[in-house]
Symmetry: C2
Subunit: 168 residues, 2 copies
Amino acid sequence: MELAAAKLKFIEAWGKLGSEWGINRTMAQVHALLLISAEALTTEEIMEQLSISRGNANMTLRDLIGWGLIEKQHKAGERKEYFFADKDVWNIARQVAKERKKRELEPVLKVLNELSSVDGDEKDPEYITFKKSIKDINKLAGNVDKTLETMLKAEESWFWGSVLKVFK
Amino acid sequence: MELAAAKLKFIEAWGKLGSEWGINRTMAQVHALLLISAEALTTEEIMEQLSISRGNANMTLRDLIGWGLIEKQHKAGERKEYFFADKDVWNIARQVAKERKKRELEPVLKVLNELSSVDGDEKDPEYITFKKSIKDINKLAGNVDKTLETMLKAEESWFWGSVLKVFK
DNA sequence: ATAAAGTTTCAATAATTTTTGAAAGTTTAA
DNA sequence: TTAAACTTTCAAAAATTATTGAAACTTTAT
């Protein structure tokens, strides 16, 4: 396969994966484009390559910066802003894990903790079932949280080394 | 907090979490409702409790069965179909992991493997960058895949015991 | 100070996804 | 066989989410 075709295919696949996981397609595609680009790109170049509007490109780039996945670069003697992606895939994974943990897992953990203190009749099957489900989910979510916490601090080789060694 | 209020709050939180992770809100809410219900429920009861239409309820229940998260139950002497959820949270986590792995991770792994064999000029920085990114992503995705594979086969206590012990 | 180059905002529009509801289909009991 | 009870389907409508594009804003060089 040719490089140009391969790039398009990767951008498409990354966009699809993103949209299946609640990340807007364009954001994933812009990220993909910068990930596989050797050079930092301007807003113009991104707009052109992905056929998106200036407004969309601008908002998407801002969001990606907010996620800690890309950065602005200023080239000496140039007015234009260039954007480039962190190419370290382990950093990317940690950054995404960190953001989603903060935005999504933590609010749910908070609600689950509140719900743990529901009061009711210890003889009521509905009450018993509710309490047990919340307790079990809470425990699982807590384990996920702890694992992500470890991942956020860990070096890639250490992390996978440990996880995969145990599972061998 | 009262049980009734707590149930509503849980259903809302579960629905929100689902929609943030690419699972339709109603599907997550129906799942939540059945998870915290001591009894199996009919389509009518689900429609009423969540204020959704018959068509929506039917499709959603079918999808949940397809995900292996709920089952139909037939009560002796009754025409109606009842639905109940697997209450084992570890089973639920594995089931979701299994389905998403199959539907989303595996197609991406397939594309990544195809893209690994892109051909081009070994001196071209664009080619070098592309190859390296694909290779790194492939490796990470492979590790995720192996870990999920292990999780799918594992008992909960063994899995978390191993993971968390290593991370202590 | 001003004008060109570049960036940001956001109301309006478009695209996508979800939901409805009524008709068609199926099953069961008599 | 019939009709009531129940389930499924899917085209149309509604709701949600993403995108556009032009105006406003900012920065820089002269």
